[in-house]
C-alpha cells in the first residue's frame, strides 16, 4: 500500500533582502513516521520549519499540509498541526492550567471536551502537581512539557517539534524521547528538528540534512550511513586534529589503519549519523576524546 504524504514541500525558497536563507527545498514526510530535520546553525532549519508551519510566507514554492495548501487553505492546514517551538511560547504570567485552556480555546475545542483532554495529556506528561503553578515558576523541562501539552491539546495529525530537548538534562531528555515514541505509536506524524544527532539517530525513521539552505542528504539513518561507508576509522594527528574516513567494510578499514603512523590515536567503529552529518555539511570532527591506543569498537 502506498504511504500517504502528510507534509510536502516543493521548491521552497525564502529570501530576506539579498540573503537567500532557503534555496529550494523539496521534501515529503509520510503519515505515521518520525522525520528528523538536521543541520548546523544558520542552515535554514528554523526558516524552513516556520514556512512548513504556515508562520512564514515563502518567497516561492509550495507547502502542502495534510492535503491543504499552507497558503490558500492556511486555516485548514493549521488545524492539522501542533507546534512546539524552539523558544517555549507560553504566557509565563498565567497558570499552567490557564495556558493549556487558552490553547484549547484557540484550537476551537468544545468547552465540554477541554477538561477530559487536558486530564489525559497532563497525566501522560506527569504535569498534575504543577497545574496551578505559574509557568514562570517551572523549570525548563516542565515548561517544555506544558508546551507539548498545548501543542497536542487538539489531537493533531502532525506534530512539529523544533529542538524539543534543547537545554534539558539527560533524564528529562530521555523522558521526552519516551513521550515522543508514545505519541508516534498512537499514530501522530512527527517532524523533529534537533542539534543532537544521537537523538535523531535513535528516534527518526528518516532524516534530511540541510546545509546552506539546501537538503544535502536524506533517507533512513542506516541508508545514510551505508551511503558513505558503514565502517569509520577515526584518527587524531599530532596537532590533536581529529579526522574520520569511511569504508565499505571492516577489512578495508583495518588496511587503512595499518598505513597510519604508530603514534596516531586510531579508532575503528561503525559509521554513525554524526559522521554522515560531518561529511555532508563539510564540518570538522571535534577535538579530543581519543584513546591513546588503537581501539576497535563494534
Amino acid at each position: 500500500m502506498e504511504k500517504k504524504v502528510v507534509i510536502e514541500a516543493r521548491n521552497l525558497r525564502k529570501s530576506f533582502d539579498d540573503f537567500e536563507a532557503v534555496k529550494g527545498i523539496d521534501l515529503e514526510v509520510f503519515e505515521g513516521e518520525i522525520f528528523g530535520f538536521l543541520g548546523p546553525n544558520g542552515a535554514g532549519k528554523t526558516t524552513s520549519i516556520r514556512m512548513l508551519t504556515t508562520m512564514l510566507k515563502p518567497t516561492s514554492g509550495q507547502v502542502i499540509i495534510n492535503g491543504y495548501s499552507a497558503e490558500k487553505d492556511a486555516i485548514l492546514a493549521k488545524a492539522s498541526i501542533g507546534v512546539s517551538q524552539q523558544h517555549i511560547s507560553l504566557d509565563k504570567d498565567i497558570k499552567v492550567r490557564q495556558n493549556i485552556k487558552h490553547h484549547a480555546m484557540l484550537r476551537k475545542i468544545p468547552f465540554r471536551d477541554i477538561e477530559p483532554r487536558m486530564k489525559e495529556l497532563t497525566e501522560l506528561m506527569g504535569l498534575g502537581p504543577f497545574m496551578d503553578k505559574m509557568v514562570v515558576e517551572l523549570s525548563g523541562g516542565w515548561r517544555r512539557k506544558v508546551s507539548l501539552v498545548c501543542s497536542l491539546i487538539h489531537d493533531p495529525k502532525i506534530l512539529f517539534l523544533d529542538e524539543p530537548t534543547a537545554g534539558l538534562d539527560t533524564k528529562s531528555r530521555h523522558a521526552l524521547w519516551g513521550i515522543i515514541r508514545q505519541l508516534n505509536n498512537k499514530g501522530t506524524t512527527i517532524f523533529l528538528t534537533t542539534h543532537y544527532i544521537e537523538e535523531a539517530e535513535g528516534l527518526c525513521d528518516r532524516v534530511a540534512i540541510v546545509n546552506l539552505g539546501k537538503i544535502v542528504a536524506s533517507g533512513s539513518p542506516k541508508e545514510l550511513c551505508d551511503s558513505v561507508g558503514h565502517i569509520t576509522v577515526e584518527y587524531v594527528n599530532r596537532d590533536g586534529k581529529r579526522f574520520g574516513k569511511q569504508f565499505p567494510d571492516r577489512q578495508s578499514g583495518k588496511e587503512f589503519m595499518e598505513t597510519l603512523k604508530d603514534d596516531t590515536n586510531v579508532t575503528l567503529r561503525k559509521t554513525t549519523l554524526e559522521d554522515v552529518f560531518l561529511i555532508v555539511t563539510g564540518e570538522e570532527y571535534s577535538k579530543g576524546g581519543a584513546d591513546n591506543k588503537i581501539t576497535e569498537n563494534n
Binding site: 508551519t53 504556515t54 508562520m55 512564514l56 510566507k57 486555516i75 485548514l76 493549521k78 488545524a79 498541526i81 507546534v83 517551538q85 523558544h87 517555549i88 511560547s89 507560553l90 504566557d91 509565563k92 504570567d93 498565567i94 497558570k95 490557564q98 495556558n99 485552556k101 487558552h102 490553547h103 480555546m105 484557540l106 484550537r107 476551537k108 498545548c150
Partner: protein, 239 residues
C-alpha cells in the same frame, strides 16, 4: 482569543485597578482642586470641565500602555504572539482579541472615574451613549497600542514613542484646558490628534452640549485606520 489576557486580568484585578486609577484621581485632585481655584469660575466649574477630560485621558492612558507592553512582551520575550498565528483563527480575531482587555480596562477605570465625578460634580450627566464613546475611544487606543508594539523592534522604542507621542497627547488634547485658548496654529495640530476627538465628544455628552458629530466621525475613522494597519501587519507578518 483573549482568554489568557482575561485570566491575567482576573488574577491581578486589584493591582490593575489601582494602577488604572491612581493617575486619573491624582490629576483630578491636582488640577481640579489645586489649579481649579485659580481658574475663572472657581474650582467647581473647572472640576465639571476637567472630569470629561480625565475620562478621555483615561481611555488613552489605561489602554495604550497595557496593551502595547502586553503584546510587546508576548512578541519578544514569551514568543506567545507567534503561537496565536499557528492557530486556525482569523487575523481579525487576533486583532480584536488582543484589544479586548484594553477595552475592558478602559471601561472599568472610566466607570470608576465617572462614579467619583458624579459625586464631586453632580451636574455632569452619565448616559448610555457616554459608555459607547468610552468604548470606541478605548478600542481606538488599544488598537494603537497593538500597532506600536507590532512596529517597535525593541522595548526601548516603545518607551520613546510613549514619551514623544502619548504623554504630550495626554496633556495637550483639550483634557485640562480649552483648545480655543491655545494659539491657532497649535490648535490645528491638536485637533488632528486622536485624543482630541473623544475629549470633545465625551465633554459634550457629559455637559449636555450639542454633540460634535464630526469629532465622533474622525474618532471612528482613527479606529478603522488603526485596525486596518494592525490587520495588515499581522497578515503579512511584517512585525
Amino acid at each position: 482569543m483573549a482568554w489568557g489576557d482575561l485570566c491575567y486580568f482576573k488574577d491581578n484585578i486589584v493591582s490593575i485597578l489601582i494602577s488604572c486609577l491612581i493617575g486619573p484621581v491624582l490629576y483630578l485632585v491636582a488640577f481640579g482642586y489645586g489649579l481649579g481655584n485659580s481658574m475663572q469660575g472657581g474650582a467647581d466649574n473647572y472640576i465639571q470641565f476637567i472630569i470629561p477630560g480625565i475620562i478621555s485621558m483615561a481611555t488613552l492612558s489605561t489602554t495604550f500602555s497595557f496593551v502595547s507592553s502586553k503584546v510587546m512582551i508576548q512578541k519578544i520575550f514569551y514568543s506567545s504572539f507567534d503561537e496565536l498565528l499557528l492557530c486556525p483563527i482569523k487575523t481579525s480575531s487576533v486583532v480584536l482579541g488582543k484589544s479586548l482587555v484594553g477595552v475592558l480596562r478602559g471601561l472599568l477605570s472610566c466607570t470608576v472615574i465617572m462614579a467619583i465625578g458624579s459625586i464631586l460634580s453632580p451636574g455632569i450627566q452619565i448616559t448610555p451613549f457616554l459608555f459607547v464613546l468610552v468604548l470606541v475611544s478605548s478600542l481606538t487606543f488599544s488598537l494603537l497600542g497593538i500597532l506600536a508594539a507590532l512596529i517597535a523592534k525593541r522595548h526601548n522604542t516603545l518607551n520613546v514613542f510613549s514619551s514623544l507621542v502619548i504623554v504630550p497627547m495626554t496633556f495637550l488634547c483639550g483634557t485640562i484646558f480649552k483648545i480655543s485658548d491655545v494659539p491657532a496654529a497649535l490648535g490645528y495640530i491638536i485637533r488632528a490628534l486622536p485624543l482630541t476627538q473623544p475629549t470633545e465628544a465625551i465633554r459634550a455628552e457629559m455637559l449636555n452640549e450639542a454633540l460634535p458629530w464630526l469629532s465622533i466621525l474622525i474618532m471612528c475613522a482613527y479606529c478603522v485606520i488603526f485596525y486596518a494597519l494592525d490587520y495588515y501587519i499581522i497578515k503579512t507578518g511584517k512585525y
